[in-house]
């Protein structure tokens, strides 16, 4: 950020606006805690806590960017972005990366509290962090795609839920994958690795090792970047 609250780049602008909207900032930071605190500091079974926290990260990632991009399309701001002297792929990647980073900032108190609550499960912390980042990155891309199909920010949630709910189920978030085929499908979905790392960090029984969770999540961070590049023209040039 340059000087007194001036933004010269797209990521600076996103952060500046996020910081300036105080009421939204407080709500965004409190919301994950309201959901997460009872799960972490009650006798809630770990499998339910892992399920709820995976869904929380998914919703925060998908709805945020989708609603913002839909609103921008309705107000004409997407055209202002389109006219910037930037390549669409670079522009959308930067926007979604900063959006996912803000979402991660929102969720970081939960991750910190989880580490404090179960310090002995530290081998899962890197996978937890990258797994959260992967889910946020993938769902931000999904939200961006959903924004091209919706005519109001409120519709984004409905469009996003259509692919997300079956994907969460197939990832084994609601019930453990029972067959080899199902497990194979779960391995190519981003939610699997965050959910598995959460199970590990919460003393439940993870299906994969911490290293595999970390590796899978890292791949999905890269996949999200690739998807954003491929979708950029469609997202930024849809009126």
């Amino acid at each position: 950020m340059t000087g007194h609250g001036l933004a010269a780049t797209v990521w600076q602008r996103e952060l500046l606006e996020f910081a300036q909207r105080r009421r939204a900032l407080v709500i965004k930071l409190i919301f994950p805690l309201v959901v997460g605190l009872p799960l972490l500091f009650s006798r809630a079974p770990s499998v339910y806590a892992a399920m709820a926290l995976t869904m929380l990260a998914t919703m925060i990632g998908a709805v945020g960017s989708g609603a913002v991009l839909t609103r921008e399309r309705l107000t004409g701001l997407n055209v202002r972005y389109r006219l910037l002297p930037r390549r669409p792929a670079a522009l959308l990647c930067e926007r979604l990366a900063v959006s996912a980073a803000i979402d991660l900032m929102q969720l970081s108190p939960i991750l910190i509290l989880l580490a404090i609550r179960h310090p002995s499960r530290w081998p899962y912390w890197p996978a937890l962090l990258i797994g959260t980042a992967a889910v946020l990155a993938m769902t931000n891309v999904l939200g961006a795609w959903a924004s091209t199909l919706t005519t109001s920010p409120g519709e984004v949630m409905l469009v996003v839920l259509l692919p997300v709910l079956p994907a969460l189920f197939l990832s084994g978030v609601f019930t453990t994958p029972a067959s080899p085929a199902w497990r194979a499908i779960a391995n190519v979905l981003p939610f699997t690795y965050l959910h598995d790392a959460l199970l590990g960090a919460l003393f439940a029984a993870p299906r994969l090792s911490a290293l595999m969770d970390l590796g899978g999540a890292t791949v999905f961070v890269l996949v999200a970047g690739l998807c954003a590049m491929l979708l950029a023209r469609h997202v930024l040039e849809t009126d």
Partner: protein, 313 residues
């Protein structure tokens, strides 16, 4: 002299039947071009395509000899104001303008100097730290103009630039555009304001239902109406126009809320129109005869009033 922008046979159709068809236009350095037409004639569509905000279904545009509309080096040399004055509402005017100035490649010191100059010119300097959501339509339009001018683009594309501006701001804008034109900036304005077009622009494109129906220099277009006069009647209440339309001396007739505009052929006597009014003449509260303008040319060519459509907008 290198052509700044060259558009050939541009077509873009929308599902509602609107759009543009086979429109071609060249913009030379220093040239001021007005794109005129009623609401829905395709002015904004044409400007969006020339400004790289939309793509044509067919046809080709080249900017500075390049045809890749996503090329950052093309967009860096364009200044575009579209019909929607969209800004980041939760940021101040200065934050908005700073962001765009820096995005278009201005170094911090230059951005600061030019923004102070431009915001003072627009009368927004005192309100620069106000959130844009608190701005009026006119202030937003001025801010859009500041953002379009600040990086000193080689081509300016302005959709209804005087919309929402007060008279003083309009005069300041005309002056600024004249200066920019003298320094080689190619300027395209979409407008319904015949006075703005006649006063400011070198060349005019008249659009009707997405097609160019007339194109040329303002002076030469107006010679087509040499000897023609316009009779404007202020009415107390609406009257039947068919009688006037049938007069052989009448070229075209259009009606607005409280006035009737009659385009009279060369040598016609306005008194003949008044004679047709018969018993309704007492409904005329005022009348004047004046030289015709580009709006009258449009009326003559299409039978549609530019003014009437502009009022509807």
């Amino acid at each position: 002299m290198t052509t700044l922008l060259s558009a050939r046979r541009l077509t873009r159709s929308y599902q509602n039947g609107k759009g543009i068809h086979e429109v071609s236009v060249d913009v030379e350095p220093g040239e001021l071009i007005a794109v005129m037409g009623p609401n829905g004639s395709g002015k904004s569509t044409l400007l969006r395509i020339l400004g790289t905000a939309a793509t044509p279904s067919s046809g080709e545009v080249s900017w500075f000899g390049r045809t890749d509309f996503r090329d950052p080096s093309v967009r860096r040399r364009l200044g575009v104001v579209l019909d929607q004055a969209a800004h980041f509402e939760d940021m101040t005017a200065y934050q908005n303008a700073w962001f765009f100035a820096r995005q278009f490649g201005l170094p911090p010191r230059t951005a600061a100097e030019r923004l102070e100059d431009s915001l003072r010119w627009a009368g927004l300097w005192e309100a620069r730290h106000q959130l844009v959501r608190e701005y009026s339509l006119g202030m937003r339009r001025k801010l859009s103009l500041v953002e379009a001018f600040v990086h000193r683009p080689q081509i300016l594309l302005l959709d209804e630039p005087t919309l929402g501006l007060d008279y003083r701001a309009e005069l300041a804008l005309i002056e600024r555009l004249q200066v920019l034109s003298l320094t080689g900036t190619g300027i395209v304005i979409a407008t319904n304001d015949v006075h703005l077009a006649e006063r400011l622009c070198h060349r005019v494109l008249l659009l009707h239902e997405g097609r160019v129906i007339k194109e040329g220099r303002v002076a030469s277009l107006l010679t087509e109406l040499a000897g023609v006069k316009e009779l404007e009647l202020r009415m107390l209440s609406p009257i039947e126009l068919d009688g006037i339309r049938r007069l052989p001396e009448v070229e075209a007739v259009s009606a607005e809320a409280d006035s009737v505009h009659v385009l009279l052929k060369r040598g016609a006597n306005p008194a003949q129109v008044l004679a047709v009014l018969n018993g309704t003449a007492d409904l005329v509260s005022a009348m004047r005869v004046r030289q015709p303008n580009l709006g009258d040319l449009f009326l003559k060519l299409t039978g549609v009033s530019l003014r009437l459509e502009a009022a509807a907008e």
